[in-house]
Amino acid sequence: MKMSGAKIVIESMIQEGVEVVFGYPGGAIMNVYDEIYKQDSFEHILTRHEQAAVHAADGYARATGKVGVAFLTSGPGFTNGVTGLATAYTDSIPLVVISGQVPTGLIGTDAFQEIDAVGISRPCTKHNFLVKDVKDLAYIIKEAFYLAKSGRPGPVHIDIPKDVTAAKTEFVYPKEVDLKTYKPNTKGNKRQLKKAVEAIKQAKKPLVYIGGGAILSNSATLVREFVHTTQIPAVETLMAKGVLRYDDPLNLGMVGMHGTYAANMAMAEADLIISLGARFDDRVTGRLDEFAKDAKIIHIDIDPTSISKIVHADYPIVGDLKNVLEDMMPLIKSQIDPEQYAYFRNIVERYNQLHPLSFHDSDKVLKPQWVIQKTGEILADKAIVVTDVGQHQMWAAQYYPFTYPREFITSGGLGTMGFGFPAAIGAKRAKKDKIVVNFSGDGSILMNIQELVTAYEYKLPVINIILNNNYLGMVRQWQTMFYDDRLAETDLSIQPDFVQLAQACGGKGYRVKTKEEFIQALNDAIKQPVPVMIDVIIDRREIVLPMVPAGESLSNTIVEYHDPKAIENKG
């Protein structure tokens, strides 16, 4: 039977097992929306902005490990979605984003709502397609899903002109894709692996450095086994939260710009760094020529371009972390004596005791760290924690008690303000039995605030906890520390009434200024069937510590900072 391109899109989604699509219609993609109307195999969630549609698909993907799907129209619909593509791209999140395009005959004529979409998405997708013939459509969709989730995952964009969604052809969904030019290397080289194990055996001060790849490859269990068998201390990146439990005695916490003192010092002093799915981002390494000066490096990564890009790897292993660790564990078990690292464990433990992660709590004003810790006590592992970008994001990473992978969803690589709320909606749609909390800032939350309506309409009761400092806090922190406190355009004293704003959109709002109020509000919020905003008035001069100033070495981690304008005296 012949089928229109639009119908092929729908049938392909069904073949891929897609249960939800986030999107926003418009002229160029109307044929597809007409077919959405006629089917009930998957749900379509109408966000109130295309950026939010892509972030929601992204949140869904991060919460489940499945491919997230978004539909956009041409021109402005597509360009609104670009931030979503870029966000997913930098964090290697599998998405398939389909956009409508003007009819083939009009491409290149500056037609109404025409934009060179594949030209724009090329540098911020893993791959993209312009479909010129309906006969290619099914295969391209199959290929897109395969590319999105295989190898190093990432977003794939398909641009479909309107005449292609109208044209008809026989629908055959391919069972397999075989790409001669794309064969990700998933098995690590055995010889390299043996050499790496030998290096671990020789090391006196080895350190495990865990990245987001450990989550993307679903290898948290293996990473835990590796760390516990060897008893080698570990540091984690922002993207690796939850791979190890927060209270694992071998977990030194986050490394890098806002990493713990112990993690940063361990990184600076290690003689062997065992990188598991991490990519030596500049927010992690600090000043490069000082980074891990005395260390040899084992780098396990599915993407060869990540290896020796920033830091030379002495033992490069290209492969899927899960496969590599599976192959490595028998060698580790038979060859490694955990006692040999007792000395280094002892050193890092002393660093940890010297400057544990800490803040000065107060009875006069709410401290953001307290709010996060308290939320962690109340919700613990019942929640998925999403964040926006800024100080609140770092505090959430530092103070929430994460215990399992995919519990923490944050825009790490791109640092996209406005990501949190729509991503939380996507995560809630994926995991309805979880409480989904979005820690946001008074700046970030406004960047996708319209999604209150979406969350209300689709009964996705996300809890937004706004750590309200009346500032673009993270920028303000840099201004205070490095620009003599000249607060250029970071004061957000003028802001909406978040309680009323929530109510206006069918949600529920709370404003809290004390610990009691917060606890009460949160306990009440959990019971709400509607989206919630808890506007938490916090100490507006609080800063994120520890901090390694940009361009300095990890051993220069600042643990105390005296703010002359602090509202509250320390202690």
Binding site: R122, K126, K180, T181, Y182, P304, H312
Partner: protein
């Protein structure tokens, strides 16, 4: 340091843009680039002359390989390198001088019109540099270089 990469890519929409954008986006140099279909196949060959540090080449090669339609990146120290140059001279020059010179560089005279002499040569890029230096005194009007093509020995 100079280096030549021979890149075999699938013959499809946008593949040249992907390669060129990769170089532009990551700040790599392109000295020259040639591209043409490989006969009786669905592939094209791009020959890219670039320069930089060895660790940069390593990244470039890996990044190219990561592009989905790239089939193979060939780096070799054993390439035969050839480039073509076409040069237009004023008619006032001695035809035999130019012909003799061109012959030294595997070339010949391609055209003589009322106003101009056009010579074409095919040789190693370094020799083409020499040729271009050598013809200065004949006041060349226009010089067109094709960019380098290579094949493994």
């Amino acid at each position: 340091m100079k280096k030549i990469l021979s890149v075999i890519v699938e013959n499809e929409h946008g593949v040249l843009a992907r390669v060129v954008n990769l170089f532009a986006g990551r700040g790599y140099n392109i000295d020259s680039l040639t591209v043409a279909p490989i006969p009786q196949s669905n592939y094209s060959r791009m020959t890219i002359a670039t320069q930089g540090e060895p660790h940069v080449f390593e990244q470039i090669a890996k990044q190219l390989n990561k592009l989905v339609p790239v089939y193979k990146v060939i780096e070799s120290d054993n390439f035969i390198e050839k480039e073509m140059a076409m040069v237009k001279f004023p008619i006032e020059n001695s035809l035999s001088d130019i012909d003799a010179l061109a012959r030294c560089y595997n070339g010949s005279i391609s055209n003589v019109s009322d106003d101009f002499i056009v010579a074409t040569i095919i040789d190693r890029p370094a020799r083409i540099d020499n040729f271009i230096k050598g013809i200065k005194r004949y006041n060349p009007i226009e010089i067109v270089r094709s960019g380098v093509s290579v094949i493994d020995r």
